[in-house]
Symmetry: C2
Subunit: 166 residues, 2 copies
């Protein structure tokens, strides 16, 4: 097949399916869970660099976004970002994390096909397609988790391997 | 359409096309370019936190991966990761950055459809599908760029807005 032929049919090339995207996201979420575990309990809730938020607050931001985004893309109904609990132990944070994991897995197969491409106002505020809102959640988690890697290094703690998503 | 009907047809749901993935990647790359610009020249090549690499080295890692990955997925031929130059000014780094941007755009339409799903050994070392190798490059850039945000904050410099990919 010539390059030209490929190029002309490229618009509709599927590079990622819904199932693959879920696997990709949950792989990232497994790594973030290991980051939460890697912080000493007190540092998780207190340590930061450059006046930024401690990793517990970043992790809670991920939790506030993750399952609500899956639900919002599935149903068009958006939770309030303010309705989340504020755990004060690592164990409580990990419990919320695992609940979100289960909820995303449960909601995912109910997302109607057309909702990935449909524009909606996420959380009543951010207008984007379903797919872009989901990618934003993954990117935001990856971005702030990278921040957490600096916190761990500054604390002299070896972070989990970035490439390991098992 | 019922949820069950959706679920049963979900395996083949396209959530991202090749063109959308390129737009997504180049959006990330525009943000990373702004990060390079945001560093004072000397700090770009010297400043770090926790014994990590300065942002210039992270940016060079992105450059070493980006266009070579587009080319490798397109052709099955992989560059050596060691063959890259080592710029020592911000201007030289930005020139390399912009060359990579153009090269990715030029190569992208030549990627044969089947290569996104085909397993290959990226750089002769990392076995993965084309799409996963590309997603890894984006994730790696997002991850280390998040590290750069901490460097800028620690330097008292406001980083560019994470959500702005224009």
């Amino acid at each position: 097949m010539s390059s030209a032929a490929n190029a002309s049919s490229k618009d509709k090339v599927t590079v990622l399916t819904a199932e693959e995207l879920l696997a990709h996201w949950q792989g990232h979420r497994r790594l973030t869970r290991r980051m939460i575990e890697a912080f000493p309990e007190d540092k998780l809730f207190s340590f930061s660099v450059g006046g930024m938020r401690p990793f517990s607050e970043l992790a809670m931001e991920f939790i506030k976004m993750a399952a609500p985004i899956a639900r919002g893309v599935a149903t068009g109904k958006w939770a309030s970002l303010d309705e989340s609990p504020s755990p004060d132990t690592k164990a409580a944070l990990l419990t919320l994390w695992d609940q979100a994991t289960e909820e995303i897995n449960a909601v995912w197969p109910t997302i109607p096909v057309h909702r990935f491409g449909e524009v909606d106002k996420a959380f009543g505020q951010w207008e984007n397609t379903g797919i872009n809102t989901i990618l934003y959640a993954i990117d935001n988690e990856t971005h702030h988790r990278g921040q957490g890697y600096v916190y761990l290094r500054a604390l002299g703690i070896e972070p989990p391997a970035f490439y390991d998503r098992s």
